[in-house]
Every structure is written in C-alpha cells, then in structure tokens.
C-alpha cells in the first residue's frame, strides 16, 4: 500500500537526486564573521537600509563585548569565526531518509506518538519541499488576516511592514543588550513576527503553524510579538519532539510588547538534542527573552518547559512599565545525563501597583545540574508592587545538583514580597509506596515528577499540557538506577 509518507519520501529523495542539494550549497556564505558577511546577509535577504544599519551597529558593539561566564554552566570555548552565519533554510536538511536518523531519537518520536511525516520534518529530513505545511499555514493566515492580525516570518515583516519592525525592533532587547543578544542582532537569519491590532483577540493558539515550521528555525532566530491596546494573543513555540540540528550554538532573541490592556501568553516547550550520555553534541541554547508591559493594565505571561539542550541559559523576563501591569513566569526545567540549565526570570517593577508571579520547578537527574537564577527589582516609583516567588527543586539520584540564586532589589518601601523555596529528593519511601500499590518504579517517578510540576503545566494550553506530561515521563525513563 503506497502511503502518503512513502510518497513524500520518494519525492524527497527524488529531489535530492536532481541536485536540490547543490543549489542550496551555492546559497551559503563562508564561515566567519565580519562586516562584509553582515552586508551579504542583509543583501541576500533584500533588507531595507535601516536593517543593515541596525545589524552593523550591533556587530560593532558586539566586538567590544566579551562572552559572559557568570552563569553556572561550563563548556569549551566557542570559535565564533568557524560558524556559518547564513545559509538557506533547507541547507539544514542534510539527512535524506529517516533511516539515517539516530535510532534513539526515532524511538522517542514513537513514544510521543508523533506522526511519521512530522518525524521526518523534526529530524531534519529533506521533505520540506513536498510537505503540506505551506497550505496549512496559508489557511491560518487568511483567517488571521481577516482580523487584521499580521503573522509571518521576520523577513516578510521586514519587507511588508517595515514601519512596525522599525518601531518595535530592539525596543525591548536593544541591539547592545548582551553578548548573545548582540550577536543575534547582527546576524539573525529569520524568525517570526506577530502583530495583533487594537482590541483584537487572536482566536487561535498561534502554535500549529509554528510546530510544523519549527524544524526549520535557524540558529539565530528572532521573534517580535506586539499586542496593541486591548489585544490578546497566546503563542506557543517549540514542540515536544527532540529536534536535531547541525548547529551547536543557538542564540535566539524574543521580544514581546504589550500596550494598554493587552495580554500576551507565551509558552515554550524546548526539547533540542541534549547530547549523548557523555554530553557530546548537544545544543547550547543561549536565549534572550524579554517582554515589556508598556501599557497600563497589560499582562505578559511566560510558561516554559525546558527538557532539551546540553546547556540552557535563558531568563524570560518582564519589564512592568505600565501601571497595574502583571508579569508571570512559570517554568519547568529538567536536566538529566550531562545537561546543564541556568534559567529563571527577571521581573522589573517600574509602574505603580505592578504584580509579578514566579513559579519555578527544577528537576535534576543523572549528572544534570539545574540552576534557578531570578531577579525581582522594585524601582522607586513602583508604589505597591507585589511579587510572589516559589522556587522548588527536586533531585533524582545522588549525582545531580540543584542551585538557587534569587536576587531581590527593592527601592520602594511599599513593596510586598513573598519567597518560598524547597528542595526535595524523590524518596525511596515515595517510590515504594507507589510500587506497593502496583505501579512500576518508573511510572512512580513519572507520576511524582508530574505532580511536582502541576502548577506549571496548568498554565500551558490544554493540548500541550498533555504533551508536556508525556514528554517528562519519556525524558525520565531510565533515570531510576
């Protein structure tokens, strides 16, 4: 029976045969970074002058910076001159058949119940030319366009809506922000752009489209999301399936802007390749994510489930500028094998009556090292600011680590702060109790960990909450010894 999948593969292979690959080769720039490369990137993308200027400004600033090493993660030096900073998206598709993909990854796909077509996409098999995603995306776009919602790739936005890009780009994460954000500003390849106009409530989770396209997201990705006055949008990036990528360094930037009475809910499931048992080959995920509650009564909510990457370094933050604005951060970070995560948030209270909530759940297994790092800053003008922080760590086994670095700076005496923290070890008692009721040790651990993360999962859109639970269970397999 010739299934659709088989056809896709045949087509994909065929295309490869006819030199598809060579075409792409011609569309890459040589490794290394200098002004010429940046001009070349900008030119290839057909960007207006302001974009090139912005990139160059960032690059020149980047030259003055040094790679930061204050985080609690360790890795060999990165050679920035050996990286290829621009290549056509399909260049990543080096593999031509699922048979070439690491069997362990395929096994995980199977456990997560991911359809075969999607497996191929996620594993970076070259089927993007034939896959139906384009039409799916088009259908969504038409529906969104009726409401005046702009949702497109960053490159398209630069071409079609330069006034919006120019107005908001770098308004939350400036080109000079930090080493990795600065590098991103200079060389970012593409990403997503979304603008929700005044008073519009985006009727769907902006997720399906992204999920399909996620496999093509590049190494230096940039996302800009604007919710105009009274608008609402819920956005989900990433997916539960482990994603393979030839590029080890990922330095993405996400900027969110919420104007008066606007709400943005941004959810992430990150499951990049964590490397093998010795930690070889995993992704370095050095991300800058920040949202600005620019308007009064606005709200930005970050939810993240981080289970992948060899190293995760990210602090999705909120600048609470508008009076009565609300910032939230809900996080589950799991480190196993040799994974390291240094993650948390910054809540900067500027406006009056601003409120923030931080709920962080760190789980360490194997040799994993998990760090929560968070800053709550209450500025002088932030009358009646409130923060609630809850920071829980769970250890599985005795070779992993959990670390907590909460920073609090208060410049206004009316602030109210609450901080709760706990560290627990999955006890033999708990596991035995579950086993005595008939559950296997593995199921027991998965149940206990999912229970531990419940407060975060309930913040995820329904379907992804289910996926996240499954992901956690699969990720924890083999962690009982």
């Amino acid at each position: 029976m010739p299934t659709e999948t088989q056809q896709i593969h045949e087509l994909a292979n065929q295309e490869y045969k006819y030199g598809f690959y060579t075409d792409v080769e011609a569309d890459a720039v040589p490794p290394g970074l200098n002004e010429e490369i940046i001009r070349l990137i900008s030119e290839k993308k057909g960007e207006p002058e302001f974009m090139l200027e912005w990139r160059l400004k960032a690059y020149r600033h980047w030259l003055t910076l040094e790679e930061p090493h204050w985080s609690n993660v360790f890795y060999p030096p990165i050679d920035y001159q050996s990286i290829i900073y621009y290549s056509a998206p399909s260049k990543q598709a080096k593999t031509t058949s699922l048979e070439d993909v690491d069997p362990e990854i395929l096994d995980t796909y199977r456990k997560l119940g991911i359809p075969l077509e999607e497996q191929a996409l996620l594993a970076g098999v070259a089927v993007d030319a034939v896959f139906d995603s384009v039409s799916v995306a088009t259908t969504f776009k038409e529906k969104l366009a009726e409401l005046g919602i702009i949702f497109c790739s960053f490159s398209e936005a630069v071409r079609n809506h330069p006034e919006l890009v120019q107005k908001y780009l770098g308004s939350v994460v400036p080109h000079s922000d930090n080493f990795f954000a600065c590098l991103n500003a200079a060389v970012f390849s593409d990403g997503s752009f979304c603008y929700v106009p005044k008073g519009v409530r985006c009727p769907m989770e902006l997720s399906t489209y992204f999920r399909i396209n996620a496999a093509k997201t590049g190494q230096f990705e940039r996302t800009l999301l604007i919710a105009d006055e009274g608008a609402y949008v819920s956005y989900l990036e990433g997916c539960t399936a482990p994603m393979r990528d030839e590029n080890q360094l990922h330095a993405a930037v996400v900027e969110l802007v919420a104007l008066d009475n606007a709400q943005i809910k941004y959810s992430t499931i990150q499951n990049w390749y964590p490397g093998d048992d010795e930690g070889r080959g995993g992704i370095y995920n050095f991300v800058t994510k920040r949202g600005k509650c620019a308007g009064a009564n606005s709200k930005i909510s970050w939810t993240q489930v981080e289970t992948g990457s060899a190293i995760t370094w990210k602090y999705p933050s909120c600048i609470l500028q508008g009076d009565n604005s609300v910032g939230e951060f809900y996080s589950v970070a799991l480190t196993k094998k040799r994974q390291q995560a240094d993650t948390g948030t910054k809540m900067i209270h500027i406006g009056k009556n601003t409120r923030s909530t931080i709920v962080s759940k760190g789980i360490s297994a194997g040799f994993g090292q998990n760090t929560y790092r968070g800053l709550v800053k209450i500025l002088g003008g932030a009358e009646n600011a409130r923060n609630y922080t809850q920071c829980d760590s769970m250890l599985i086994g005795d070779k992993c680590g959990a670390h907590t670095f909460p920073y609090i700076e208060i410049k206004n005496s009316t602030a109210q702060m609450e901080h709760e923290a706990s560290t627990s070890k999955i006890g033999e008692d708990q596991i035995f109790y579950c086993q005595q009721r008939g559950l296997s040790a593995e199921d027991a651990i998965s149940m206990i960990v999912n229970g531990f993360c419940k407060e975060v999962f309930k913040e995820l859109p329904m379907e992804f909450a289910v996926e996240a639970q499954k992901l956690l269970s699969v990720s924890l397999e083999g962690s009982v010894g």
Partner: protein, 250 residues
C-alpha cells in the same frame, strides 16, 4: 495462601526477625501483637518487599510462589496490600488519579481491561460510603495535608478499591481517636471475605475489640513467643508484655 517458614531478617547487619513461621489461609484474620521494637513493622515491610531489609534465612510462599523473588509492584499486582503505618504524601497527584493508575496496573497484570473514568468514579463512590469518606478528600493530592486519621482512613479506602487477597495493616490504629478507630474497623469488617486474609499488626488490644481476629500471635525480640485465639489479646491487655519474657517459649 501465605506460608512463612523460619524467616530471618536483618537491617543494617542487625538481626531483627529470628525465625518466624506463620501460616495464613483465605478468610482468616491473624493479628500480630508485640512490644515496640519486636519486629512487627519489619515483618510487614518484608512481606511488601521494602528494600532496606536483608533476608538471611527462611522462605515465604505466597499462592505457591516464592514471594521473596518478586518485585514489590508484582507482589501488589498479585494481591498483597500494605496499609502503611506512615502513609506517604505525593504532591500534585490526586487520590483519584493515583488510585486509578494503581487499579489499572493491577487489572493489566491480570489481563483485564483498564477501567474507564466513569466506571471508576462509580466504584470509588460506592467504596467511599463504606469508609464515610468525604468526596473532597479523594480529589485532593495523595495524603497531602491530611490529618493522621484521614491518612489512615485513606489507606483503608485504597484497600477497599484495590480489593487485595492479602491485606496487611501495619499499626493502622496508631494515632487514631476512638471514633476514627471505629470507622476504620467498620471499613475493615465490611471488607472481610472468605477470599481475603488479613494480617493485623498492632501494639494495642483496643483495635481487636472492633476487628475480631481468628488468631493472635505475640512477637517479642524477633520471635513468635505465643499464639492463641482472641482471648490471648485480652490477656495481654491485662498483663502487659513483660511477663512473656519470663515464660518458657511454647
């Protein structure tokens, strides 16, 4: 259904049980009594498969199988249930969810179909009545924030839902006031059946006023020093445990 023969058990290289032999048949209720530190809870732990003990001699045959060779979860799936002296809390996991997962693990082991949410709810409701459980309790996380009495009642409630062949009650009466004790005992009595055996471990005779055993065994210093019927429990209540150490072992 259960044969314990010459069981010797150590913990941290210290001998705790020194040659226990005991035989339980379906439908019977046996009570193990004894002073603190006599090895009562160790016996319960070994039967359920707790890892921290080392069996140095003897054997346990359960339904014709070598129990000591079985993993704790397999013992549970084969019908052994331990009501814990100190029930464990599991954050964020509702009682309902936990119990359904447990029941389905057992059913799967028996080759039966998993129970669906609706049927399970009906089952749970019927069992809640026996224990006079508050519906709110079963939707809360497993034992989280439960009072001592609620935890013990929850153990018996789980017993009722999982319907084991052999139920071991490890000091279920400890920390219960008289009303809670009566409710728990009522629950246990409602679960008495010709197919089910109970091993009731207790320090005090009090519980045995409500759960009347067929046999009473006295455990002292790792040995069963005396066995008898329910009248033995009353005798112990009167005389305490100290006289036993002077009596010749029967």
């Amino acid at each position: 259904m259960l044969e314990i023969r010459n069981l010797h058990v150590s913990a941290n290289n210290k001998p705790i049980l020194k040659g226990i032999s005991l035989s339980l048949k379906r439908g019977e209720i046996h009570s193990i009594m004894g002073p603190n530190g006599s090895g009562k809870s160790t016996l319960a732990g070994v039967l359920a498969g707790r890892q921290s003990y080392e069996v140095t001699d003897g054997e346990i045959i359960y339904e014709g199988k070598d129990l000591l060779e079985m993993a704790p979860e397999d013992r549970a799936r084969e019908g052994i249930f331990l009501a814990f002296q100190y029930p464990v809390e599991i954050r964020g996991v509702s009682n309902m969810y936990f119990l359904r997962a447990a029941l389905n693990a057992i059913r799967k082991h028996r080759g039966e179909e998993e129970v669906d949410a609706m049927d399970f709810l009906a089952l749970v409701r019927s069992k809640m009545k026996i224990l006079h459980m508050d519906e709110a309790l079963i939707n809360r996380a497993v034992n989280e924030g439960f009072s001592g009495g609620e935890k013990k009642r929850n153990e018996i409630f789980q017993l009722a839902v999982l319907e084991p062949s052999l139920a071991i009650l490890d000091e279920t009466d400890s920390g219960l006031d008289i009303d809670a004790l009566k409710t728990v005992a009522q629950g246990v009595n409602a679960l008495r059946s010709p197919d089910r055996a109970f091993l009731v471990i207790t320090h005090y005779q009090r519980l045995l006023n409500y759960i009347v055993p067929d046999f009473v065994h006295v455990l002292a210093e790792g040995r069963i020093v005396l066995s008898g019927d329910k009248s033995l429990a009353l005798e112990l209540e009167e005389k305490g445990y100290s006289w036993l150490e002077k009596e010749p072992v029967g």
